[in-house]
Symmetry: C2
Subunit: 487 residues, 2 copies
């Protein structure tokens, strides 16, 4: 990837070094980090979808045009794992969060993890979290106990839990299980308790992103004039199923609720961007817009077809294929990060060390860090990203090794059959015949041709990368991953 990308990125580099040295920041930049939920590589206009898919996304597209759009942005294959990677700068398996948290599972973010919010706090930032958390509901795990000054409402779990109530009623479930229906909660100061706001049910599911956007706009308006910079993290809920949207978005797309939901995500994002502009702090604010993982194509509900698309890639939320872990990502910092498109590899773990470097904060030195500081690349001080590989875990199992354009799998993913065909998080993970599967993602974007025969040499870097990881685990053993299937 390096060689041919060089010229492309080098132009960027030349343009930026001048820009970088000419500017001086009066104070540390604000950072607004927006995380979409299950938005696929093939769902947004800037990535070749949008209008073509019947759901225009003009605000996200404009952000992409004004910022650096990442076409090789890699994540972990599920909501909890990816958020853990983003929040800790480490593979989720190191914090015991390599499986999606469901009611009843034991995985939860531990106090001893150093979070992105704590990194910002170490430099005096004001911090706030709004929206979906999904990193555990234990007291030590809650946002206001993990570096955020406030959690201006949100919820612990996952949006499909809004379906539980109706399903329990329809199927006449015993009343004792109703306590598992999720709540909207908030915490108004660091270290304080969470207070219930209302049920997170199908009715309120329609309005949650409207309220996240409103809270974000209020926050921006309140703190725009302050000398203290802020770090604002928005955990959007869209387009995670179920996808009923606010009334003003009903029927806006041509593909039903999924498209309406993507368009609402786009519209709410636009509201936040407009607030930054109107408050006059657009130039002083780094805006990062990411998705947490690939799309859902497989429907697990009786009423909804999930119309997400991973674009050219195979795979979806929950498996270890490219479509599950390669999704959209963009970063805008006017005057500092040159607008453009890059195919250099960046992972979601990289944001913690990268942002730490930008604001002059330290990162933990007493534990393995998997994120890599990419600030020199983003600021145009070097032509290439510092990343060439990524490991992917599901539970306590290493399921994929990415090295440059090579995808190598110690396991084999497939859709179920014999029942209604389903893939992704409803699919299957089986053993190979004893060799890793090897695919070239550039040559074969849908991972249909195992080219291990002429690429047996890749077993050497494959084992080397695994070995380097295993060495860190020997010194710092992972907690046990949540277990739902191995008894």
């Amino acid at each position: 990837m390096r060689t041919n990308a060089m010229k492309f990125v080098f132009a960027l580099f030349i343009g930026l070094s001048a820009m970088g040295s000419a500017l001086a920041q009066s104070k540390q930049p604000n950072v607004v980090l927006m995380l979409a939920d299950n938005l696929g590589y093939g769902d947004v206009g800037a990535y070749g979808a949008g209008e073509i898919r019947g759901m225009p996304t003009p605000h996200i597209d404009q952000l992409a045009a004004e910022g650096l759009r990442l076409t090789q942005f890699l994540v972990e294959p599920g909501c909890t794992p990816s958020r853990a990677g983003l929040m800790t700068g480490r593979y989720s398996i190191r914090s015991g969060l390599s499986k999606i948290i469901l009611r009843g599972t034991t995985n939860t973010l531990k106090a001893e993890e150093v979070t992105l919010a704590e990194v910002f706090k170490s430099r005096g930032y004001r911090t706030a979290y709004m929206g979906k958390w999904h990193l555990g509901s234990d007291e030590e795990s809650q946002p206001q106990n993990q570096g955020f000054d406030e959690w201006r409402f949100g919820f612990f779990g996952t949006t499909e839990a809004t379906l539980y109530g109706e399903s329990m009623a329809r199927t006449k479930a015993p009343e004792k299980w109703q306590a598992l229906i999720p709540q909207i909660i908030e915490a108004d100061h660091a270290g304080g308790p969470v207070k219930p706001v209302r049920a997170y049910d199908l009715e309120y599911r329609r309005f949650v992103d409207r309220d996240i956007a409103n809270a974000a706009v209020n926050y921006i308006n309140t703190h725009a004039g302050s000398d203290t910079p802020f770090f604002l993290f928005l955990g959007w809920t869209r387009p995670h199923y179920p996808n009923d949207s606010a009334p003003e978005y009903h029927g806006k797309s041509r593909i039903g609720s999924y498209g309406d939901s993507v368009m609402e995500l786009d519209g709410r994002t636009g509201e936040v961007l407009a607030a930054l502009s109107e408050a006059g702090i657009e130039d002083d604010t780094i805006v990062i817009f990411l998705s947490d993982n690939g799309p859902t194509k497989t429907s697990g509900t009786v009423s909804e077809i999930n119309n997400g698309s991973a674009g050219p890639w195979r795979g979806e939320l929950g498996d270890g294929l490219e479509g599950s872990i390669r999704t959209i990502g963009m970063i805008r910092w006017p005057g500092r990060i040159a607008p453009g498109v890059t195919n250099e590899m960046i992972s979601i773990h990289d944001f913690l060390p990268t942002l730490a470097n930008i604001i002059g904060a330290d990162t933990p030195s007493n534990r393995p860090m998997d994120g890599i500081d990419q600030s020199a690349f983003l600021l145009g001080q070097q032509p290439n990203s510092n990343r060439e590989h990524l490991l992917t875990f599901i539970g306590d199992r290493l399921v994929a090794v990415r090295y440059r354009q090579w995808r190598m799998y110690p396991v084999s993913f497939s859709s179920t059959d014999g029942t209604a065909t389903t893939g992704g998080y409803l699919g299957r993970m089986g053993e190979t015949a004893g060799l890793p599967e090897i695919y070239n993602i550039e040559a074969d974007p849908r991972e249909e041709r195992n080219v291990g025969a002429e690429n047996g040499w890749l077993v050497v870097p494959y084992l080397q990368l695994i070995g380097e990881y295993m060495a860190t685990v020997q010194d710092h053993p992972n907690p046990k991953a949540a277990n739902l299937t191995d008894f």
Copy 2:
């Protein structure tokens, strides 16, 4: 598609009406039409591939940026059918060309067809053809007998025939079949004979696009200063298998011969565009760059994996799925066609009536025409394209009906199995259980969910569109399609 696309295209419209009326052309525009061979929707940078796929395409990308890029450009599902549709403005089935011509098949372009070149001749244009023809080798079918003043070398058949010689030698085929090895030929004046130039073998396959580009550059330089406008048609051979490229392109991509070949196609296209610019006629020349059909992913040769990609769509060359008939297309006319991107539906049949209107030529009135004049849309005089549907044929069988975003199939396409898995032109076409399959291409780009149940209403427009077509056939019966399988 209309409703939501409206605002997007309307901005274009406003911008252009002013532009259109303010300009006057001193003479008719030159037209350079370049047709790539089996280039997929997911193969080019402007369509989200290029560098991401390990094969940058900067020249085609720049042309796309300077012109109007079509994201819903529809063709026919094979080289011969698509070229027949382009050349006649009619479904290929009307000229008996709805199957790919192979040595031994009887289909050939008839003298009574009115070709695109004849349309240009009717307005006094100088016309030339260079490269792959694939519309039949009978005398009446040859370019210089179908409206082109010259055929500055090319070949009748298809590029995989360059493999015949080696395969015949390896497999010890009887010598009598060697006459079927293809030739490079040329015809230097209208109505004249074709003269052999050399064998079209694997050695020369590497150089054919270099020579097409050189011939085109010479042609442009020779005629740039003339008062007579020209119509130049380039039938590129790339990235049709086999894909060995000219030496200077060896190893240029990161994905092997397919990528090298795409990059050579891009480089050769750049040579032609540079010649237009250097000759000072860029502003007086309409440049159209199209692919004839979807990519090949399935390899029919022992030595080559075909790394084409249809991007988000399912299907490949030879089947009737979206990936087979939706491919890349762009048109540049400086000062007349506003640069941009449109998802309005345009088919390859539309170019004949559209270009005829632009140059003030008549189109045939004594036969059914399937192409639709799109000049008002392209020139910004109306916000929408005039097309909402397209029928797709293979041989004498109607295999697909497109109506707006709906894909409806009277047959069912699948890959073979039990042998090495193959799809596309090596795949299978079977009967449905008696109902058409129905897919929503916006909601479900990979056509994985037959949504006929809630869309049974579509049977009405489906039968209506088929009925309208059948009525034209009653008055103007189709010739018999070539037959290779039904005996």
